[in-house]
C-alpha cells in the first residue's frame, strides 16, 4: 500500500463554478508515493504546487476524487481522526521568519506540536535533543526568532515538524527564502533525516535543480495539470515535455 495515494483528484477554490466551467485549480491528478519515498513537485508560481500540499495535509478540502494517506481516505475523516492525521503529516514552510511567533522563545515555539497533538509538556532535555538533531545547541532554546539567522530558523522549523515523529514530511519551498550559502545545508538536512527516520517526503520547489538533487521521483505541474512525471533521473536528464525543458533551461542559466 502506498503511503500517499492520489486518484482522479480535482480541486477548486470555487467548486460550484468549476463544475460548470470545467476550470479547476488542480485537475485530474494521479500519483502515489511509497513509504520512504521522496517526491518532488515542480512548477512555476500559480501552477498549484502549494495548493496541492495543503490538500495533502487536510488544510484544504478534497473537491473530487480520492486522497488516501496511510490508507485513510482524507474526505471521510472525522475531526478527531483529522487531529491524528496532523501528527502523521507535518509541514515546513517557505519563509522561516514568518513561521515562528516573534514573541515566543524558540523552546516554547518548538514545544507547540507536542503540547497540542500529544497533550503533554516536553522536557527541556527532549527539546535540546530535537535541536541537536538539526545541529543546534540547547542554548538556542532561550533565543527569540530575531536573534537567529534564516538558515538556523529553517533548521529549527524542521526540528519542530519532526518533534511529533510524523511519517510524512511536506516541505513547501524550504530553501527559496534562504541565502545561497545555507540552501544546501537545509536540503541536505532534510535528505539525511529522511534516511535516518525512514520518512516519506514531498518537496515542492520552482527550482528543478533543488528538486533534482534529492528526490527519487518528480511530478511537473503546470496550470494544475501534471504534464510530466517519473523517475528523477529520467525527468531531469531526458525531459520530454516542453515545459519541463523550459524549467531545466531556466535552472541551467544560474547553475555554475
Amino acid at each position: 500500500m502506498s503511503h500517499i495515494d492520489v486518484k482522479n483528484f480535482y480541486f477548486s477554490y470555487a467548486p460550484r463554478s468549476a463544475r460548470e466551467t470545467g476550470i479547476w485549480t488542480l485537475s485530474n491528478l494521479n500519483f502515489s508515493v511509497e513509504a520512504g519515498g521522496f517526491l518532488g513537485i515542480v512548477g512555476e508560481s500559480g501552477s498549484g504546487k502549494s495548493t496541492l500540499i495543503r490538500n495533502l495535509c487536510g488544510l484544504l478540502p478534497i473537491t473530487e476524487g480520492h486522497v488516501h494517506i496511510d490508507g485513510c481516505n482524507l474526505a471521510s475523516l472525522s475531526a478527531r481522526e483529522m487531529i491524528d492525521l496532523r501528527r502523521k503529516i507535518q509541514l515546513i514552510y517557505q519563509n522561516p521568519r514568518r513561521s515562528f511567533d516573534p514573541r515566543m522563545r524558540i523552546g516554547r515555539s518548538i514545544s507547540q506540536p507536542i503540547r497540542s497533538l500529544e497533550k503533554r509538556t516536553p522536557s527541556d532535555e527532549e527539546l535540546a535533543n530535537l535541536l541537536a538533531s538539526v545541529g543546534l545547541q540547547a542554548e538556542h532554546l532561550n533565543r527569540f526568532p530575531h536573534e537567529l539567522s534564516g538558515g538556523q530558523l529553517q533548521r529549527i522549523a524542521i526540528a519542530r515538524a519532526l518533534s511529533v515523529r510524523p511519517g510524512i514530511l511536506l516541505a513547501d519551498e524550504p530553501t527559496s527564502a534562504l541565502d545561497v550559502s545555507v540552501q544546501a545545508q537545509a536540503l541536505k538536512m532534510i535528505a539525511e533525516l529522511r534516511e535516518q527516520l525512514k520518512l516519506t517526503v514531498v518537496l515542492v520547489s520552482h527550482d528543478l535543480a533543488v528538486v533534482g538533487r534529492v528526490t527519487d521521483s518528480i511530478i511537473v505541474l503546470k496550470d494544475g495539470v501534471i504534464v510530466e512525471a517519473g523517475n528523477t533521473a529520467n525527468v531531469l536528464l531526458n525531459p520530454q515535455h516542453a515545459y519541463t525543458q523550459k524549467l531545466a533551461e531556466a535552472a541551467a542559466v544560474v547553475s555554475l
Partner: protein
C-alpha cells in the same frame, strides 16, 4: 563613470563597509555578490544616499566627476532617477497599490522633465514596449495587484530607465521571483544595458545570476571587497576561500546520473553564519568560518593581485595546482 575611493560606512562606531577603490566604466556591468549581512547593499545604497540615517559615510564616490558624498539633497535628487536608476528587490512591495501603472511610470518621467501630457504618454507606451510587456493600453490602466510579480518587476525596470540613466542599480532584482521568470528578467536587464549603453551595478547573493549578467564581479564579505575580477576568471579560478565556498554552495542543475538524487555529498554550505555588525573578526573577516585560516589571517590583509584584472585579499589562496571545491 563611477569611481569609489576610500569609502567608509559606519553605524554606531562599527565599520559596516570599506572599499579602497572600485571603478565602473561607461556601459560596464559589475556584480556585487555576498550573503545577507555581507554589506553589499550598504555599499550600493550609499551611492544613492539611501543608507540608514544612523550610518556615517566618508570617502569619495564620484559619478561622472561629481562627488556624491556630502552633496546637497536637492542636487542628489536630481541625479537619482535621472542619471542613476534603481530596480528594487521585491516588486510586489515597491509599487503604489492605489495608483494605476501608467501614472506611476509617468511620474518618473515628469519628475525630471517638463514634457507635455501627450509626450509623456507616448514615452510611457515606449517604455512599456522597451520592457517587453504586451498590451500597453491594458497595462497603463492596471493596478499593481492585477499584474504578476514578473510583470511588476518589468514595470519597475521601465520606471528605472524612464530617463535613460547612465547607471542602473539593481538590488537583488530577481530574488523574489520564480526561476523561470528570473531568466526572463535577467535577459531583459542584459539587453537594455547593451541597447542603452547603460552601466549596471547588480547586487545578488547568487554567483550564477551575476555571471549571466555581468562582466566583472566583486565578492563582498564583512563590508570589504574580498575578491574582484572578470566574472569567468572568478568562477573558474577563484583565489579567495570565501568565493570558493560560495561557488561550492551553488545548487546547480544535475547533469548526470551521479548528480541526480540522493547524492547529498555534493551539497555544500558555507560553515557558520555571517556575524552581526561589529562582531566580525580582525584581519581577514572570513577567518572564523574558514577551514584554511592560517596565522597571518589575524592581521590586516591587503588587496593582492592574482592576475591582470584579478585581485583578492586571501592569505592562503587557492593555488593553481589545487582544484577548486567545485564540480565544473
Amino acid at each position: 563613470m563611477l569611481i569609489i575611493e576610500n569609502l567608509h560606512v559606519s553605524i554606531a562606531g562599527h565599520t559596516v563597509a570599506e572599499v579602497e577603490k572600485l571603478e565602473l566604466a561607461n556601459g560596464q556591468r559589475i556584480g556585487f555578490v555576498g550573503e545577507s549581512g555581507s554589506g553589499k547593499s550598504m555599499i550600493v545604497m550609499s551611492i544613492l544616499g539611501l543608507q540608514p540615517k544612523s550610518a556615517k559615510v566618508t570617502g569619495s564616490i564620484k559619478f561622472n566627476g561629481v562627488e556624491l558624498i556630502g552633496i546637497p539633497a536637492k542636487k542628489l535628487a536630481d541625479i537619482r532617477g535621472r542619471l542613476i536608476g534603481l530596480v528594487p528587490q521585491d516588486p510586489t512591495k515597491s509599487l503604489n497599490p492605489t495608483m494605476r501603472i501608467g501614472k506611476q511610470i509617468a511620474e518618473a518621467i515628469s519628475l525630471h522633465s517638463n514634457a507635455g501630457k501627450k509626450a509623456i504618454l507616448r514615452r510611457v507606451r515606449e517604455l512599456i514596449d522597451n520592457v517587453r510587456l504586451p498590451d500597453p493600453d491594458r497595462i497603463i490602466k492596471s493596478y499593481p495587484h492585477q499584474l504578476s510579480g514578473g510583470q511588476q518587476q518589468r514595470v519597475l525596470i521601465a520606471i528605472a530607465i524612464a530617463c535613460e540613466p547612465k547607471l542602473l542599480i539593481a538590488d537583488e532584482p530577481t530574488t523574489a521571483l520564480d526561476v523561470t521568470v528570473q531568466g526572463e528578467i535577467l535577459n531583459l536587464l542584459l539587453t537594455l544595458s547593451k541597447e542603452l549603453d547603460m552601466g549596471l551595478l547588480f547586487v545578488s547573493h547568487e554567483l550564477g545570476v551575476v555571471r549571466f549578467v555581468c562582466q566583472k564581479v566583486a565578492v563582498i564579505y564583512g563590508g570589504q571587497v574580498a575578491e574582484f575580477g572578470n566574472a569567468d576568471s572568478i568562477i573558474k579560478q577563484p583565489a579567495h576561500r570565501y568565493t570558493d565556498a560560495l561557488i561550492a554552495a551553488n545548487i546547480s542543475l544535475p547533469r548526470n546520473e551521479i548528480e541526480v538524487a540522493g547524492n547529498t555529498n555534493q551539497l555544500h554550505s558555507v560553515r557558520g553564519s555571517v556575524p552581526s555588525i561589529g562582531e566580525f573578526p580582525d584581519g581577514c573577516r572570513f577567518r572564523n568560518r574558514c577551514d584554511f585560516a592560517i596565522d597571518s589571517c589575524r592581521s590586516f590583509v591587503p588587496m593582492r593581485q592574482k592576475d591582470k584584472d584579478h585581485y583578492h585579499r586571501c592569505c592562503n589562496p587557492i593555488s593553481s595546482a589545487e582544484k577548486p571545491n567545485v564540480t565544473h
